[in-house]
Amino acid sequence: MAELTTTLSGYGAAQQKEASQDAAATRELEKESAKLTEATFDVTGLDLFYDQTQALKDISMKINKNEITAFIGPSGCGKSTFLKTLNRMNDWVEGCRITGKVLFEGKDIFKEVDPLALRYRVGMVFQQPTPFPKSVFENVAYGPRIQGINNKKQLEEIVEKSLRAAACWDEMKDRLHKSALGLSGGQQQRLCIARTLAANPSVILMDEPTSALDPISTQKIEDLALELKEKYTIVIVTHSMQQARRISDKTAFFLLGELIEYNNTVDMFTNPSNPKTEEYITGRFG
């Protein structure tokens, strides 16, 4: 677990009152070097069952650092299920059985990594915005608090940084201590992204983050995703082919639990190799 804890040291460093910029720089460096050597996720032969029904069939794929990977496919094809597997949120689903291997930064997430530590590193944003019924500040501070940071000053710093990173500091700085439930849907979703960022992850999983939002909010979230990929690895599930096309570097097409095609987004949309992919992206079904 040595490596994991090294990369987790961001906050440890902050507590030692080092300048936070230094820590960020260190992390940046670490990432740079990692990128050359390995994919963030390396999945091989993943099968997933809900009781008797198989929801994922023999999935193998690599997800690269500092890229946006989009999952597309018709409803029920297993996109969300696969996404949840990546940070072991399926642990909480009764009757869910997984075989196969998922490496996160080279470590087997089912054997070598503690699920809590994994989730610190791999954050998640859901389809419906899920702000807690707390103040904006407390929502963002939730992750750091969970990780044991209680120093007020430090929290304030983290909250501001995260809200800025999620492009909503200006809107929210005046209502930090009001309930987050009073925000609009788009604001709530960006708040949830800020909350995820505050936990200092290296990967952000997003499950149809814009499907409940109006076009203007959607635009903002898409811009945000493009910005964030500088620092984070992003996996996004979307039902909108347009969206996948607009923002992702790689696209994976799922159908009935199988990974049908996985390729650079541009290639996939201009020249799909599988006829089913073509049918789907040209709108002949789904």
Binding site: R119, F126, T130, F132, K134, L181, G182, C192, R195
Partner: protein, 306 residues
Amino acid sequence: MNAIEAAVSRAHRSEKAARTFITVCGIGMALVPFLIGAFLFIKGTDTFFLFGHGVGEFLFSGEWNPSDTAEGGGQVGAAKFMAGSLVTCLLALIITLPLSISSAIFMTEIASPRTRRLIQPAIELFTGIPSVVYGFVGMTVLIPFLRSIFPMPFGFSVLAAGIVLAIMIFPTITTMAADAMAAVPKAWREASYGLGATRWETIAHVVLPAAKGGIFTGIILGLARALGEALAVAMVIGQMKVFPTSLFLPASTLTTAISADMGGAMEGGEYSAALWTMALILFLLSFLFIFLIHQLNAASSLKGGK
């Protein structure tokens, strides 16, 4: 007139009839508490208007010696009983709260849905047990037990009443709390787990705060139930007419005082008027509790911005 027109006009007619009936029932039922309130008010204000006692005397004086005659002239300080009621209720709450919350958390967060379906009805069953049975078990089992482990002269005590009441209100608070927790959206739990929180952290930081409105309602309803309970408390509290100064000593409550003397007091006398005033106080306290729940609920949902 064709079939469709007939169906439409029939639908409108039944709508009108049902709406009238239902509105009458709704309003009618809302009148019942007001009727009871009015009835208690008429009976309960004799102490002040007929027998000339001050409200201040009634509420704050400890001198309780009403005369059982139509002439009056006694003293009607009911502070002892009010203090007794409040102390026993609070004690019951303090005892039952950890158990209730634990059980509710166990049912909603830890146990499987099947276990929950098994336990919850079992807990609800306890609302159907007559208070005499609670009182009797308290008297024959609890009191000797307390006397053997604590240095108390009688066994009959505020503590015994608190424990018996705690058991009686346990089902109410537990069920309400469990329902409130079960109603917390799964999305919040998932979001919390997704940030790397453990179950305990999720419960403490997300589930409990989100469910606190419902838990609070349960507490208030439990308190109201405890406040109104007479027979079981009467059997274990000792009904000594003193202020509740120690957990290990007896005291009296509003309800025990009412049920002890209401039957024997002279109709229309000062004693019975004073008892009715206590019943009025009980009614007002219940109403105050309910009012509080609503204020708090309103406040917390305003905070949610919805």
